[in-house]
């Protein structure tokens, strides 16, 4: 491409950031959570993660070959899709779940719609939603006991919370990830470590996760306890389940989140509201997947209402009319 004259529309600023570099940052930020998953849930987690990543990358390469597109495996976005999908799965799932989930995520949710940059929902979450609908039993009962690696078919703390009991783990157990849950969602400390790296590097905007976590916290605090308002446990609601993972690593996907800061804040709040609605009044114990997917679909609408005003332009129609009338009189 170097010798060709490229005619493109402005802006012509060229920054040091590349797709591959950004993706590499995201992968790095997920390393602590992945290591935590292997430490907490045993070597089997590594198999799940590898199966998912390999399937995602292979699906991308094979599909792009089949339809004669440029093979874009090198931009590493498929690796992230596979990794994120694996982190949302229970540690004990049969291996066909990550394999089929990643293939669906990459082929149906991403490549069919034109590949990276033109997908309308987060591929990893679409893959998760698909396997969740395909094999609900695999996604709701294949838990593994932390540190002992025994298969458990019990309920996750979130499901326990939902059934009205109060036997939830202590805050320190939650922070280090000593509880039942999906691979990458239990160790909150590792997730926060990765998230702060992303924010420090400027890869993600803090407003989206802030809006998300704030909305979940507020929703759980106000409505979390049945029969009484403003007495729910907001902190537990945020720390249990996939809110942290979803808010920092999934909702912030560039392609499927709004482009303005204000828009991102609204998207976060919206996703939080849907999550809380599903958790408290829906049929599933967890609503992060659907909360984010829902707001992915609303993103174009948010962007349309949040078009920034350019300098010197009076946005308010009535003001503009008044200004015009004043000009005419003068």
């Amino acid at each position: 491409m170097g010798e060709k004259l490229l005619v493109t529309s402005s802006p012509h600023l060229k920054g040091p950031k590349t797709v591959r570099g950004l993706m590499l940052d995201v992968i790095l930020s997920l390393v602590p959570a992945s290591i935590a998953a292997v430490v907490i849930f045993g070597p089997r987690s590594l198999t799940v993660i590898l199966a998912s990543v390999v399937s995602a990358v292979a699906s991308e390469a094979i599909f792009e070959k089949a339809v004669k597109r440029d093979v874009t495996v090198n931009d590493l976005s498929a690796v992230i899709t596979g990794l994120l999908l694996a982190l949302t799965l229970p540690p004990g799932v049969r291996l066909y779940v990550p394999v089929v989930g990643s293939a669906f995520a990459v082929i149906v949710a991403k490549q069919i719609f034109g590949g990276l940059g033109t997908n309308f929902v987060n591929p990893a979450l679409a893959g998760r939603a698909f396997v969740m609908a395909a094999w609900p039993l695999q996604l709701s009962s294949k838990w593994v006991a932390p540190f002992t690696f025994d298969a458990v078919s019990g309920s996750t703390p979130l499901a326990v919370l939902r059934s009205g009991q109060t036997a939830i783990p202590s805050i320190s157990d939650i922070l280090i990830g000593n509880r039942l849950g999906s691979l990458g969602e239990t160790c909150v400390l590792a997730l926060l470590l990765g998230a702060s790296y992303l924010i420090a590097r400027g890869v993600i905007d803090w407003r989206l996760p802030a809006g998300y976590i704030g909305a979940v916290f507020a929703g759980a605090w106000v409505f979390g306890k049945s029969g009484a308002y403003f007495q729910g446990d907001g902190l537990t609601a945020v720390l249990l389940g996939g809110v942290i993972l979803g808010a920092f690593f999934m909702a912030t996907d560039y392609v499927t989140s709004p482009v303005t800061g204000k828009g991102r804040l609204y998207m976060g709040i919206g996703a939080g509201i849907v999550t809380i609605l599903i958790r408290l009044w829906g049929t599933y114990p967890e609503g992060v997947t659907y909360g984010i997917l829902f707001m992915n679909l609303v993103t174009p609408l948010i962007d349309r209402f949040m078009v920034p005003r350019y300098y010197g332009y009076v946005h308010d129609v009535s003001l503009r009319r008044k200004a015009r009338a004043a000009g005419r009189r003068a």
Binding site: R94, V100, V108, I112, A134, W135, Q138
Partner: protein, 217 residues
Amino acid sequence: MNGKRSLLHDFTKGFIEENATFRMVIGMCPTLAVTTTVVNGFWMGIAVIFVLTFSNVLVSALRKVTPDQIRIPVFVILIATPVVIVELVMKAFMPDMYSILGVFVPLIVVNCIIIARSEAFAYRYPVMNSLMDGLGIGLGYTINLIVIGGIREFLGTGRIVLFSLGSFPARLLFDPMAVMLTPPGGFVTLGLLMAILNLVIKRSESKKAAREAAAHD
């Protein structure tokens, strides 16, 4: 449009060229609703073949005496006749299948495949052509329903049940994917098949164009 149309082409164009589901994208409602199994798709397809052929012949035979302004109401009455026949026959001889296909049998009256073929074809062409058109489009539609039903049934239940022949394969090879039997599974199957067919057609057309360009040189 001038000269005699080929009866054979009027029959075969329903398979790919003017495939109801994948090319014209009409008649989608029953396509998604009844294709959870091969057998359901098959019987729905048979019902549509019968109604479409019957109504095409009637519309075509009466096309010269049908006033243009009221042709749609006339079509609907003409279509309703075979639909009632199908409905009563199914109720009498296949009550189980009727209870599965349910409301989609009487709804064939307003199925856009039938109306579209009346309006676009039977109203303009002779009876024999319309007969072949009805059979071809109907058969193409039936094949679509069977293919979609087959994919959904195989992935959704792990096996395919063919009438009294039993189920294939006899043993489950994998965990059935519940989602394939639900409406989302139907949409995904339909969309993927449509994409594949479009890709194949596009490829073969560009190949053909390249061959013709080479021949002209």
